[in-house]
């Protein structure tokens, strides 16, 4: 599956995005490392049309005036959804993108159908976890199975820049977004929270906060996955996320036929 690169002019400026697949729309919000298209995206695109905007400032894109906080970034994304999708969508956010997705869901609940949070950043009480680690150590925490990491054509300096400085433009490095925590109860969407059993960047306390605050949330461990679950375990990630997107809360109920002896 080849994702097509496009650009849209919104009121606040231009946003570049990738789009591909067929089916109901899914908005994918990337993590602090920028957009890394993975096998999971390809698998999901079999049943969904995936929209993957690049956050201004990331991957060489320009920052936009007035888009300098997580809340204002979410508002820009709402404009993107209205413009390019033309209505509500299911939303997946990874890490920084999960934080971003939560702001979108509280500011614009009418645009978010089902919400998937993949090891979301922004809810690290006491600063536990985080990205402030030497590069080699960080790489081990991002992906447990580096052999599965997709080819990435972006220069290493760009990826580091995304992670080390660009993200700070939006949140200044705050570990716990208390303003957002206070509003998590406003999230109307059924929410699936996925968390790798090898996760070390986002602490488990994040899951506790989200479980406590979001009214309809389901928490799932993904076995043998570190922070970038979709890279470590694309089939498991798509197995549960795809099922959730297809059946909503009914994903709790096993609908698979027993294997036939024949």
């Amino acid at each position: 599956m080849i994702f097509e690169k496009k650009t849209v002019a919104l009121d606040k400026g231009e946003v570049t995005y990738f789009v591909g697949g067929e089916g109901s729309p899914v908005l994918y919000l990337h993590g602090a490392g920028g957009l890394l298209k993975s096998k999971a995206h390809e698998l999901l695109s079999a049943n969904h049309k995936i929209y993957m905007p690049i956050t201004p400032g990331y991957d060489g894109a320009e920052f936009l005036d007035g888009v300098d906080s997580m809340s204002s970034l979410a508002d820009l994304t709402a404009d993107f959804v209205n413009s390019e999708i033309g209505g509500s969508a299911d939303v997946i956010g990874h890490s920084f993108g999960g934080w971003h997705a939560c702001w979108l869901a509280v500011n614009n609940p009418q645009l978010v159908e089902l919400l998937v949070l993949e090891a979301p950043a922004g809810f690290r009480p006491g600063g536990k976890g985080g990205l402030a680690l030497p590069q080699d150590e960080l790489m081990k925490l991002l992906v447990a199975h580096p052999e599965k990491r997709p080819k990435d054509d972006r220069p290493l300096e760009m990826i580091r820049g995304n992670r080390d400085s660009v993200r700070l433009h939006y949140h200044g490095g705050m570990p716990l977004d208390e303003a957002l925590v206070a509003r998590l109860g406003e999230i109307k969407s059924s929410t699936l929270l996925v968390y790798g059993t090898l996760e070390r960047i986002v602490p488990i306390e994040t899951c506790r906060i989200l479980k406590e605050a979001i009214p309809r949330i389901y928490f799932n461990y993904i076995y043998d996955a570190a922070h970038t679950i979709e890279v470590d375990q694309p089939e498991r990630f798509v197995g549960i996320v795809g099922d959730f997107l297809e059946r909503g809360e009914a994903f709790l109920v096993n609908n698979k036929a027993s294997e036939s002896a024949a």
């Binding site: 059993t197 799932n220 461990y221 076995y223 043998d224 498991r236 549960i240 109920v253």
Partner: protein
């Protein structure tokens, strides 16, 4: 030094010359079995009165080798018949079972016993994989994943789902949750160095069974200690348990004679019926990932069958004799291995139950008082770092 009383619950009057596994169940007499279960359970409960710190059994299928297909049922009875002894489930065959069910049953035992449960997370012996129709090649990976899932079921405060290689559960929240926090002690098998390292990586206690020599036991323990240090923790004696065939009588010769009869029945009858099935699994699957471990398992069985009781006593791999002799053997084993727990298996094969009971009383009166205060370390307690 702490002691656990282990019971294999064997069918002790099997006379058929069967060599195939599974053994047809027309040989099983349910009425006789009712009496046998009762005798065994009473004996196990009596171990508490005789000073054992823990009482346990394990899981086997389809043969007279052992009658506890689900040791948790026996454990449940023991919770009602004992007051302070640990309930030692050594253990459930984790890869063959629904891990959530294991988490629930173990937790019930912990709660029913008022927090006295010690758990075994065992992979099982090869032919058990035929019994429950699981691929032996997957035994290790199933054990790994199920272990993590069970720990999560014990410790996770919120309902959660699990998307794994072997197990998928969309919503888990077990009732009850364990008394022992964050969870009851876990023991894993140390049948070889690979298993010992696996136990260390899981911060579990190490349980070593029927070693061919104390030197081999030491190698396994060294591997366990080495791996534990690599992953950042330091086991003490309280984390290491070794199982011995144990026979105590008024005289050394009486103990040797009793043990000879029991071991002969154990090897020639109870073990014999599963040997063929065991060979098929060992030869045709990757139950043992390395050839070295497969050979070690086979050699250990061969040696157990061919070695005389006198040789085993000389090698320090059984506890057998009058009380004074057994005290010396225990002290020697502790000194050589640094273990904090000895797991005694006294109903070996068809050793008569009254001989077993007499041995337990000799243990109570003359052995335990001499060895109880040997270095044993604190009670093993799990921390959140173990989760």
């Amino acid at each position: 030094m702490r002691f656990t009383y282990f019971h294999l619950m064997p069918w002790d009057s099997f006379s058929a010359a069967e060599e195939e596994w599974p053994v047809k169940n027309t040989y099983f007499d349910p009425v006789e079995a009712t009496k046998l279960y009762q005798t065994y359970i009473d004996t196990m409960a009596y171990a508490e009165e005789c000073g054992w710190d823990g009482i346990g059994c394990n899981e086997h299928h389809y043969s007279p080798y052992g009658m506890m297909n689900n040791c948790n049922l026996i454990g449940s009875m023991l919770t009602a018949k004992t007051k302070k002894a640990k309930i030692c489930m050594f253990g459930n065959l984790i890869p063959l079972l629904n891990p959530i069910r294991v988490a629930e049953e173990y937790t019930m035992l912990d709660v029913l016993s008022g927090g006295r449960l010690m758990t075994g997370f065992m992979r099982g012996i090869p032919h058990e994989y035929i019994a429950y129709n699981f691929n032996p090649d997957e035994s290790r990976s199933r054990l790994n994943e199920a272990t993590q899932l069970i720990k999560k079921a014990w410790t996770e405060p919120d309902p959660f789902g699990w998307e794994g290689e072997h197990y998928q559960f969309r919503s888990v929240s077990i009732w009850p949750r364990p008394i022992q926090q964050p969870h009851p002690p876990i023991m894993m098998s140390g049948g070889n160095e690979e298993s010992a390292r696996h136990a260390a990586r899981n911060r579990a206690m190490l349980g070593i069974n029927f070693i061919p020599s104390l030197a081999k036991g030491r190698e396994i323990i060294e591997a366990y200690l080495d791996e534990a240090r690599l992953v950042g923790w330091e086991p003490g004696p309280e984390h290491i348990l070794i199982t011995f065939h144990t026979c105590i009588a008024e005289t050394d010769q009486a103990a040797i004679d009793a043990l000879k009869g029991g071991v002969d029945y154990f090897n020639s009858t109870l073990m014999n019926v599963q040997r063929n099935a065991q060979q098929i699994v060992l030869q045709k699957t990757k139950f043992y990932q390395s050839e070295k471990n497969r050979e070690f398992f086979v050699e250990r069985l061969k040696k157990a069958k061919s070695r005389t009781i006198e040789e085993a006593i000389h090698d320090g791999t059984v506890l057998c004799g009058k009380p004074e002799t057994v005290v010396k053997q225990i002290k020697h084993a502790q000194k050589e291995l640094g273990v904090g727990w000895i797991n005694t298996n006294m109903k070996i094969g068809n050793i008569p139950n009254d001989v077993v009971t007499k041995g337990m009383e000799l243990f109570r009166d003359f052995v335990a008082p001499e060895v109880r205060d040997i270095e044993k370390g604190p009670e093993p307690v799990m921390s959140m770092a173990d989760v």
